[in-house]
């Protein structure tokens, strides 16, 4: 595992790998969004084959801080801004960015704009949440949002994630998770509670087991929720000494989760040790792939908190804002105006 750090002269709020062109392919291009600067930008970077630092391919100015970015399809992504707008960009094969669509007042307070805090996508629509507490569903082809679900009580919502094609979970600053069924006209199907008004800062859904959601909290604890049993989280494990800023499941190996936080740590949660093979002899006598029928995250080991945690990045004095992993390379953006790149992250 090697860690490289490249200084990029801007504080990075979001990093995202560009999805590979084929399902099992590799990707070597990622995008970053900056924040808190006079002129914020969205940039495209390429990771070379050799051991060198990533190089910048293209840069586009962005109004307001880039609070979240999500790829909707392989060459379109949406970026949520702190000025309340959501913009759709095209990222073509020559790694050039172009703005395609913009929803400027997606989130508003009374009399001013509200920052958009998180985005989620199911490949078809974009769900956006912001500090005004509203959940806005956008269609990439339409200027007017399909649906706006207003919150009652005016609490900022910090995270959103799709668990099924038409079901969305949002998490707000009070630590409440709400499951919304977008097909129905009524409000949340279930409200999940997290004790003590600890804010939930980010949500991540398991790539294959859609009922599993991981929530990173303000107290530095990672909570694993099973949506089938919504009375309490399946388990809560603490590792960070400050709020968690992002949670990510590894898309190819979902028994690995990565979290990064305001305490400057990037932690790799490895539940693969609790993966047990099925004892049911199948016709071909094959072993189920981990994360398959027996979900490692719902095993008793994890419930006990017996899970391996490894700190991936050496001590950073400033917060690490974002992490993304694809294949065996991990990228992270921090307030130290640097991008970290860790190759061979899964092999120790």
């Amino acid at each position: 595992m090697e860690v490289t750090k490249k200084y990029v002269a801007r504080k990075i709020k979001t990093v995202r790998w560009k999805p590979p062109t084929t399902d099992y392919g590799r990707t070597d291009v990622f995008i970053t969004g900056s924040w808190d600067d006079l002129d914020n930008v969205v940039e495209v970077w390429q990771v070379p084959e050799t051991e060198e630092d990533p190089s910048r391919l293209h840069q586009l100015p962005h109004l307001g801080s880039v609070n979240d970015m999500q790829y909707i399809t392989r060459d379109m992504f949406a970026a949520g801004s702190s000025n309340g707008g959501v913009k759709l960009y095209q990222h073509d094969s020559s790694n050039h960015l172009e703005e395609k669509m913009s929803w400027d007042r997606a989130h508003t307070f009374v009399g001013s704009s509200a920052p958009c805090t998180a985005l989620a996508t199911n490949g078809d629509q974009i769900a956006s949440v912001g500090e005004d507490g509203n959940l806005v569903i956008l269609n990439p082809n339409q200027k007017i949002p399909i649906r706006t679900i207003e919150s009652v009580g005016g609490c900022s919502v910090y995270a959103v994630v799709y668990v099924r094609a038409s079901e969305v979970v949002t998490a707000n600053m009070q630590g409440h998770l709400k499951l919304w069924d977008l097909r129905s006209a009524q409000s949340a199907r279930a409200t999940l509670l997290s004790p003590d008004q600890i804010a939930v800062c980010d949500l991540a859904s398991h790539p294959t087991q859609q009922h599993l959601v991981a929530a990173g909290g303000e107290d530095g604890a990672l909570a694993i929720w099973d949506m089938r049993n919504t009375s309490q989280p399946f388990t809560i494990i603490s590792a960070h000494s400050g709020p968690i800023s992002e949670v990510r499941f590894h898309p190819g190996a979902p028994e690995h989760v990565f979290t990064c936080g305001l305490d400057g740590q990037l932690i790799h949660w490895d539940a693969s040790a609790s993966a047990r093979p099925t004892h049911i002899p199948s016709f071909k006598n094959t072993r189920d792939p981990s994360g398959g029928s027996i979900n490692v995250w719902l095993s008793s080991d994890v419930a006990r908190g017996a899970i391996e945690t490894v700190s991936v990045i050496p001590y950073s004095p400033l917060p690490i804002n974002s992490v993304d992993v694809e294949g065996s390379t991990l990228i992270a953006g921090s307030d130290n105006e640097a991008i970290y790149m860790v190759r061979q992250v899964l092999l120790y």
């Binding site: 009399g111 900022s156 008004q197």
Partner: protein, 647 residues
């Protein structure tokens, strides 16, 4: 209008007719000034034109993109230096300090490379060139400081290091040599002999010999002779095992050999070789004549010392420097950069730092160098001013950082290592940072709570809560109130919510009140709010008996604010009128007592109440009769009921 300071009189004027003769300014932020036309109360002037407010901010080179990388990397080195110095024994400081100094230098060099790359792409060429020169100067000064102060070799023989310093900063002779050697007939190239002289002056004997061997006459006697001399020149190695005295003997023997050969006329056929030999003999005049190849007095000084006094020690450097300067043009032609180098050679740290401040217009360099020197010299007692100077320069540097919208986090990290004044500044800065949105507020709170600045946390939460309240987002407001653990603010919020309920008749943010949890206990009013909401839930669930008990306890415990009693009593009305008696006699007495008090207060306040109170009062008065009737009915019923149960 114009403004000028004592030392550097730079003047800017604002082109605005309204503002002439009447400018007034106030501090607008950490380093910005707000300037506007001043209105004199005593004169009745008509003002023509729009009145504008100007924000004047200082721009620092530190805010350019190249400098940002330098700032961030330097922060890492600075912090690791402070930590290392605490952990390591004072005797081992030197290796740590040398390492950190080299880290700073490599940062500067990386920055220079970035600029060269940038120059090819885009950007303001002038600015990039200026940045490049600035960085070159910084690296030059820093490497000299490393040699003279930090990386002192035992024995005090510095010529070897100085020679390396000159070689790495003056590469014209190498470039010339490459150019010459690549041409078809090197010896006919116009720069051939210049390259040879340049190499010799920098002590690059191998290069000089290589070039001379390409000369067609390389086999002749003069060339072979000079080749031998060049090959045999002794160079002092610090850890070479040869003592200074022995080296001096060898060197003098070698130089006398050079002089002998020169006098015997070995090189009379080729005057260039004669020049080379004269250089080797340390002939001042010859070396001075070649000043064009050396550009600067320090190159001249080092080259002169190489061939006149290779065992020079630090304390002699100053006079050698003065001689070199005299040759170059005297004191008049020295630049501020020269002053810095001269001060360093005089081992006068204070002067070095002062002169650096003249050369460079940003505080990055002086702050970090002073820090390095402070740790290097910290042990000796005659440099007492250093720690204070270090603190003051670093505070200046930090104040530039925190005035930038993005670099404030780095500034706060530096302040951790600057003692009590750093901590005080840290608190002040964190409180004054603009809170643009939630994530920034969270980061500020995280930094403040890491450093145990509870007042800052409370302050930030209050600002965010107040803002949320003004935008009507009660949920967020309460969350910030709870987070601040500030009873006063939370009470205020709770009162706002209750008053809204009194006016509107419903809770806007009922969901958040349901799940306050232990946060409810933060303030009495909030507890009341939570309990009241619980009462609503019980009532909606049909759990009337428990609801009644809760309601009466709320009333009798005086948790409720006075303006809310009418609402509570009105809530009690349906319970009083319910089919089954849910309110006992005792409880009815409580309610009656409450009603009685309320009536008294209302009549006392009758004349002074505001419109809203009047509205509620009048609504209440209408219901009062109803209430009294219900209370007495219930009392009767309850007494009977309890009496019969007893029996």
């Amino acid at each position: 209008m114009s403004a000028f300071s004592k030392n550097t009189s730079r003047t800017w004027s604002i082109q605005d007719p309204v503002i002439t003769n009447r400018m007034h300014g106030i501090i607008g932020g950490v380093s910005s000034l707000l300037v506007f036309p001043h209105k004199d109360h005593y004169k009745d002037d008509r003002v023509e034109g729009k009145i504008k407010l100007y924000q004047v901010e200082s721009f620092s080179w530190l805010w350019s993109r190249q400098a940002r990388k330098l700032i961030n990397e330097a922060m890492g080195t600075f912090i690791s230096l402070q930590d290392a110095v605490k952990e390591v024994e004072p005797d081992d400081y030197k290796s740590v300090l040398v390492k950190k100094c080299r880290e700073y230098r490599s940062m500067i060099q990386a920055c220079v490379e970035d600029i060269t790359m940038c120059r090819e792409c885009e950007g303001d060429q002038e600015e990039l060139t200026a940045s490049g020169q600035l960085l070159y100067k910084m690296e030059l000064i820093l490497s000299l400081i490393e040699i003279l102060f930090i990386d002192k070799k035992p024995g005090g023989m510095i010529l070897g290091q100085l020679l390396m310093w000159i070689r790495s900063h003056f590469t014209q002779c190498i470039e010339k040599k490459n150019e010459v050697m690549e041409s078809d007939h090197p010896h006919q190239h116009s720069a051939y002999w210049e390259a040879v002289y340049g190499s010799v002056l920098q002590g690059r004997m191998e290069d000089a010999r290589h070039m001379l061997s390409n000369h067609p006459f390389a086999d002749t006697d003069p060339f072979l002779s000079i080749d031998e001399l060049l090959r045999k020149m002794p160079f002092y190695q610090v850890y070479g095992g040869v003592s200074v005295a022995e080296f001096t003997v060898r060197w003098q023997h070698w130089q006398s050999e050079c002089e002998r050969r020169l006098q015997e006329g070995h090189y009379s056929t080729c005057h260039q070789l004669q020049t080379v030999c004269k250089i080797l003999c340390g002939d001042q005049k010859t070396i001075n004549n070649l000043i064009d190849l050396m550009d600067t007095w320090y190159h001249l000084m080092v080259s002169t010392l190489l061939f006149t006094c290779p065992t020079v020690k630090l304390f002699r450097l100053h006079s050698a420097a003065q001689d070199a300067i005299a040759c170059v043009g005297g004191e008049q032609s020295t630049t501020p950069l020269d002053h810095v180098l001269l001060a360093a050679m005089e081992a006068d740290i204070l002067q070095v730092i002062k002169e650096c401040q003249q050369v460079l217009d940003n505080t990055w360099f002086t702050a970090h160098v002073t820090d390095l020197l402070c740790h290097t010299m910290g042990q000796t007692t005659d440099q007492k001013f250093l720690p204070e100077l270090r603190e003051s320069l670093l505070l200046d540097y930090v104040s530039v950082l925190v005035s930038h919208c993005s670099l404030w986090q780095i500034g706060i990290l530096y302040l951790d290592h600057l003692g009590p004044s750093g901590i005080a500044m840290s608190q002040t800065v964190l409180q004054r940072l603009p809170l643009t949105d939630d994530s920034r507020a969270h980061k500020i709170i995280q930094m403040a709570s890491d450093r145990n600045f509870d007042s800052v946390v409370v302050g930030v939460c209050r600002v965010m809560g107040r803002r949320a309240l003004s935008q009507g987002r009660l949920g967020s407001a309460i969350w910030w109130g709870v987070r601040s653990r500030d009873a006063a603010f939370t009470s205020h919020l709770a009162h706002q919510i209750l008053q809204k309920y009194v006016v509107e008749g419903r809770f806007e943010s009922s969901q958040l009140l349901d799940d306050l949890g232990p946060a409810m206990l933060l303030s009495d009013t909030l507890t009341f709010l939570g309990k009241y909401r619980e009462f609503h839930m019980m009532y909606q669930d049909g759990n009337f008996r428990d609801a009644a008990v809760l309601l009466v306890s709320l009333i009798s415990s005086k948790l409720a604010p006075e303006y809310f009693w009418p609402v509570l009593l009105l809530d009690a009305l349906p319970l009083l009128k319910s089919e089954e008696p849910v309110i006992s006699a005792e409880q009815t007495y409580e309610l009656m007592y409450c009603l009685h008090n309320l009536h008294n207060h209302a009549s006392k306040r009758g004349k002074q109440s505001s419109l809203e109170n009047e509205a509620t009062c009048s609504a209440f008065l209408e219901k009062e009769i109803d209430l009294r009737l219900a209370l007495s009915n219930n009392l009767a019923r309850a007494i009977i009921h309890e009496g019969s149960v007893d029996n």
